[in-house]
């Protein structure tokens, strides 16, 4: 692997700025939902608690999915494969947990 910076490489157009308001709002909603889940009793509380945990797990994985989509648009196939391999690793872990 070269240690010199290659000036001929194209700059990625991925900025992800549209995600900024979504992540800001997800964080705010997650705080509110988590606070409600902490104090809400009974079955409603359980649904809210599971929802908060599901969001916390899903958002990082959705960000990877979005990156794969954008790399596909940039025709950066190496990183489409790398991103797919990452999701495959996580899916394999899920399968092992279910089967095991």
């Amino acid at each position: 692997m070269s240690t010199e910076f290659d000036h001929s490489l194209a700059v990625s157009t991925i900025r992800g700025r549209w995600q900024v308001p979504y992540l800001t709002w997800i964080t705010r909603v997650l705080i509110v939902v988590a606070l409600v889940g902490t104090f809400a009793p009974g079955p409603v509380g359980t649904v809210v608690q599971v929802s908060a945990v599901a969001v916390a797990i899903a958002v990082p994985l959705l960000r990877v999915l979005w990156l794969i989509h954008r790399w596909r648009q940039e025709r950066d196939w190496i990183f489409v494969v790398i991103g797919g391999a990452l999701l495959l690793v996580i899916a394999t872990g899920a399968v092992i947990a279910i089967v095991g």
Binding site: A10, R15, V20, I31, A34, V48, I57, P60, F79, A97
Partner: protein, 270 residues
């Protein structure tokens, strides 16, 4: 302890962790263990805290354009593999062995908090466009001293360290950011700001990978997790707000000393 107590504990850990730049889980998991919770039960709660913190930090880092997503996802294959293996095996390991792992992790994190960063050379000219480069792990970042181009070096060693960080996350519930950030900046030659931001993005993915395994194994307590999410997000925000007003080096040293004490207490308890 009731759920409100867990929320307070998570808030304090996240606040201190954010001020020290290491994240809250590195303090939260040992604190939970010291209150009598089994390490196997505390680990997923630490990871929940990590995932929530990663989401909360995401917006600012996208604004600053400091995350190298290609580098993050590439190295995350190694870290997530480690996390999945660690989470799967953690159910088979004794609790005292997990506590020893946690004590080692706390001691290593203490060492990381005392380290000094590598200095990168900035270019005078600013005609190079900032951002990642398509088809490669290299990129360019704007810093207060100028434009800094970087190329990833020693990738195999970096991937090895990421795997270790993932194993630690999966077994002990500590995010492994204290390994990932120095590995990315010191070993792989990436500017510290990019390394820190990329790590914050990737620790969320590592946590999610291990949490999928924990969730499907039925090892996540939703009510305590919810309290931890609330506490971590609120404490993390307060800690990040206070961080800029307090001396950075002093904070890191105080956190380092605190982690050494935590490691000693954990070993004595194990």
């Amino acid at each position: 302890m009731d759920v409100v107590g867990y929320a307070f504990m998570a808030a304090i850990a996240a606040g201190l962790g954010a001020m020290g730049g290491l994240g809250g889980a590195i303090l939260l998991v040992p604190a939970l263990v010291l209150t009598g919770m089994p390490t196997a039960q505390a680990a997923p709660l630490g990871l929940i805290s990590v995932a929530a913190g990663s989401i909360a930090a995401g917006a600012q880092q996208l604004r600053d354009r400091t995350v190298n997503h290609r580098l993050g996802v590439a190295t995350e294959i190694a870290a997530s593999t480690g996390a999945v293996v660690g989470a799967t095996l953690s159910g088979l390991v004794s609790d005292s062995a997990l506590t020893y792992v946690l004590a080692t992790v706390a001691a290593l994190a203490a060492l990381a908090s005392f380290r000094k960063g590598r200095v990168h050379v900035a270019l005078e000219s600013s005609d190079i466009e900032v951002g990642e480069r398509i088809g490669s792990l290299s990129g360019v970042i704007r810093t207060p001293v100028g434009i800094v181009p970087y190329v990833v070096q020693h990738l195999p060693i970096g991937l090895g360290l990421m795997t270790i960080a993932g194993l630690i996350a999966g077994t002990a519930g500590a995010p492994g950011g204290f390994i990932k950030t120095p590995a990315t900046s010191e070993v792989m030659g990436v500017p510290p700001r990019v390394a820190a931001s990329t790590t914050t993005f990737t620790v969320g993915v590592t946590a999610a990978a291990a949490l999928v395994v924990f969730a499907l194994d039925g090892r996540i307590d939703a009510s305590i997790s919810c309290a931890v999410i609330a506490g971590s997000l609120i404490g993390g925000r307060l800690g990040a707000g206070l961080q800029s007003r307090l001396p950075d080096q002093l904070l890191r040293r105080v956190l380092g000393v605190l982690l050494v004490c935590v490691a000693v207490v954990l070993v004595s308890r194990a």
